[in-house]
Each structure stands twice: as C-alpha cells, then as structure tokens.
Amino acid sequence: MMQFVDYLLGGIGSGAIIALMALALVLTWRATRVVNFAQVGQAMFTTFIALSIQTATGSWYVALIGAIIAGAILGVIIQYLVLGPVKRMDTSGAIIATFGVLIALQAAAGMIWGGDSQAYPQPFGNSAITLFGHEWPLSVYDLVVIGFAAVLVVGLTLIFTRTSLGLAMRATAFNPEVARLSGVRVSRTLTIGWGLAGIVGAVAGVLVAPTSTISPNSFDILLVFAFTAAVIGGLDSLVGAVSMGIFTGLLLSVVSGYSDSSNAPVAALVLLALNLLLKPEGIFGHNSARSV
C-alpha cells in the first residue's frame, strides 16, 4: 500500500508539468479552435533560449523570465504569421500547419543549439524529502513545480472569470462574429490567447528540462501526454486540462512503477482510446460533438 502511495506522490511533479502543457493546448484551442501541435516545439525553443540565458547570466530566474517573454512573443508570431493567414482559408489546414511549425522549430533549434541532449541546471534540491522517518518520493523541486503550476492556474482562472479581457476571450471562443459586433477586437483577443498559451508552455518547458535533458525532440513525448490530458479534460476546460493533466501524471507514475517506464506512452494511448470510446466530449467538455 505504501508503495502505491509512493508511486502516486512521485507522479505529482510530472503531472503538474503535463497539466501546464495541456493548459497551453486548451488556451489555443479556446482562442482559435485549433489544436496546436507546435506547442511543445515552442516550449523546447524557449527552453533552449532560457538555457542560453542561464549560461550567460547564471541566474535560473532571469532565464525563466527570458523564456516567458520569448514564449509570449513566439506564440504571437506564429498566430500572426502562420495561423492567421492559413485559418482564413481552412481550419483543418491550420492544424496541419502547426505540425509544419513544430518541424520548423525543431530544425531551427538543431541548427542553432545542435542536436545533442544538453543538461539543464537544477535550481533547487532534487533529492527525496525525508519526513517522519519515511523517504517520500517528492523533492523540493517537485514542490516548486507544483507551486508554479498552481499560481499559473489561479492567475489564468482569475483573468478568465474576473476581467473584461477574459470575458472577451470566452465570447470570442464561442462566436467571433457576435463578439465583434459587441465591440470586441477579435483578432487582438486571439493573439493574446496564443501569447498566454506560449507563456504557459514556456514555463512548463523550463520546469521539465532539469528533470531530464533538453534536445530538439526531447518534449515530443510530453505532447502525447498533454494532448491526452487536454482531450480527456474536454479540450475547452481549464479545470479539465489541469485535473486530467495531474491524473495522467499519477497514472503514468503508477504504471511505470509497477511495470516499466517504457509502458507509460502505451498507458496514455489506452486512456485516450477509452475516453474517445466512452465519453468523447471529455469529462469537463461543453461540446456535444467535436472532431479532433
């Protein structure tokens, strides 16, 4: 029993990161009704930028702020230069276009920073916390990750529910034409949505990098987990993305613990398949019908 609890606790940190990446996917989905497969590519790119800043300045915090700024700018650029023009023609084309952006970003990162895996410095203690005579499978760093995720989720929820900007974003996601008639600057609102998603993805990237390494393809598997979480959560629900992201993290940790970590992607796939069979609109979804 204690072992099961340990496996669960061990999944909270990675669950928080999956939750953040799922949140980024949901933000772009809500803004433009496009699943942005380039999201992990953007996060990878901004994490490399953060690593360069970290190497130059030696400060983890300055690097994080650099990644956040770069994430916002990159999100806005992609929405403006690629998604805007493509989406005017065709929505499914826009989803394919995000794959193109992902490949372009990975190629560009390879050219700039090389294709090898690089270590990202660990800013906080990464050893297990010992408390009450038990060695818990949680480190100080895990707690920092969870803290960042919580702050972002609360902040975004406040923006969406309490500000007129959030109101405009929710309205635009639902019906851009009517929103426009009400005086909402729709294209600006969409761009802000992509910028916010870029920020959330960038934070997720910087937080996940120290737990493994960073290379142009190192976040690909994160996309699989985050996409699973976002879809199960209903694709347009912030709460859904976060809770299902953490749930996915816990499940993968348990599966890896009892069998082998290479089985984690299979577990994610089974979870996604079950969801699509049993409750295709997602657990927190509002849409009765949806094509992914």
């Binding site: 923006i159 929710r170 929103a179």
Partner: protein, 260 residues
C-alpha cells in the same frame, strides 16, 4: 433635441451588393432621420439583412456610400461599430450560451474598456474599477428592462422572450445613438409585443432606431417612416399609412405580377 423631420443620422446611397453571382442589393438608397423609428420591410429574400450587414461592415458593397453622422464611412469595421454609437441585435438572440445573462450584457460594453492585457493580468486597481463600472451599467440596463433578477442565469435556462431582452440589453449597454434591430418581435407573444412597442418608442428621440421586422402590426404601430424592399430594390417609402395603401407594396407582398 431634433424632431422627426430632422436630417438623416444614417443614409445609404445607391448601394449595390453582389454575392455569389446574385445581385442582392441593386441600387438601394434609404435614409434614417435622427430621433425616429424607421422600419425596413419586404418579403423574404428582399435584402433587408444584407442592408444591416453593409451598415455593420460584414458585407462590402461593390458601389455606393454609407453616410453616418454627417460623414461618408468607407471602411466600416464591425468591432468599431459600438464606438461609432451603433448597436445591432441579431435575428434570433445570438447570445453566448456559456456566459451568464449579466456577462452577455457586459460584453456589449467591451469598447468602453480601455485597460489592456498587462494591467488586467496584474489586476491593476483601475481595471477592477472599469470592470465594476461595466457590471453596474449592465445591471442598470437589465433593471430597466425588468430582467435584473435573471442576471446570473445562463441564457439556455431563460424563456425565449427573456433571452430577447438580454440581447436588447447587450445592445443598449454601450448607450448607442443608433440601434439596428433585426426582427425584435421574432418569437415574441402578444403580451410581450405591447411591451416591446412601448420600449422601442421610449428610446426615441434620444436614440434613433432602424428595425427589420416581419410582424406588420408592430411595424405599423411603432414606425415613423417605413422603407419597403423587394428583390434588392426600394419599391416604396413613407409613413405607415402611405405604405399600407401603396399598390406596389401590396403587389410585392401578395406576389402579384406587374409589381413596379
């Protein structure tokens, strides 16, 4: 304050619109005198909603001018309408199903909010004041229309006539000079119809109203001036009495041949 005989607040001059090979509007010229209720009627497919779409900037005419508040408006942008003092309601209700009635109404005041992303994200005090002011204003309008107690409900939970009022409140919250109402009486029963009539009359002469409506009783009782469209052309105009007795109008509505 100007009377019904005043100059036009809005006028369209020789507007032509062609959509997928069809001439939807064929040289339409109408004017809406300031401080009046003006009606735009005509059989289905006459082009009434297209006239609204031209005024709202959703459809670009191939030729012709839209003149509003003394100036020719070349490039009308939909999101700037409320800033220009123009509000539009849609056929049906056009409410956001996932937003509360109050939030739907607040949205109509979007153009009044000045603070941007950064200050809103950081919850700067003035953004709270702005959002709060918008909420108060929205509740005021909802109280005027008698729907304030429904503020927190979702549109789907409200009876249709109440949903229509929420849509009206959203159009009113930005304090418009010109209201474009697309079938305000659609789906509304007799008792609500009288109230709607009183409501529309109470807005003039402070506001000017242009409405598209099929419900003839309402049009005849509420309008000062009526324009009649048929097949993309103006076939008649005048007071309700003049229009009622115009043979061309009767022919268009009854589908007789030889309509002018």
């Amino acid at each position: 304050m100007t009377g019904p005989a005043a100059e036009s607040l809005l006028s369209l001059h020789d507007i032509r619109v062609r959509l997928s090979g069809l001439q939807i509007l064929d040289g339409v010229s109408i004017s809406v005198p300031q401080g009046t209720v003006t009606g735009l009627i005509g059989p289905n497919g006459a082009g009434k909603t297209t006239v609204f779409n031209v005024i709202s900037g959703f459809v670009k005419p191939e030729s012709g001018d839209v003149r509003y508040d003394g100036r020719i408006r070349k490039h009308i942008r939909a999101h700037r309408l409320t800033k220009m003092g123009i509000s539009r309601t849609l056929q049906g209700v056009g409410l956001f199903a996932s937003l509360s009635a109050l939030e739907n109404v607040m949205l109509g005041g979007s153009s009044r909010v000045r603070s941007g992303l950064v200050s809103q994200s950081l919850a700067m005090p003035w953004t709270d004041i702005e959002t709060e002011r918008l909420r108060t204003r929205a509740l005021e309008v909802m109280t005027e229309l008698g729907i304030a107690e429904e503020a927190e409900r979702l549109p789907g939970e409200l009876p249709y006539p109440v949903q229509k009022k929420v849509a009206l409140a959203r159009a009113l919250v930005c304090d418009p000079t010109l209201l474009l109402l697309d079938e305000p009486a659609g789906g509304v029963g007799a008792p609500d119809m009288e109230e709607l009539e009183r409501l529309i009359r109470s807005w003039v002469p402070k506001r000017t109203v242009l409405l598209v409506e099929h419900h003839m009783e309402l049009v005849m009782s509420v309008c000062d001036l009526i324009w009649v469209l048929d097949a993309g052309k103006v076939i008649a105009s005048g007071t309700p009495d003049e229009v009622r007795n115009n043979p061309a109008v009767l022919a268009a509505y009854l589908g007789e041949e030889g309509a002018a």
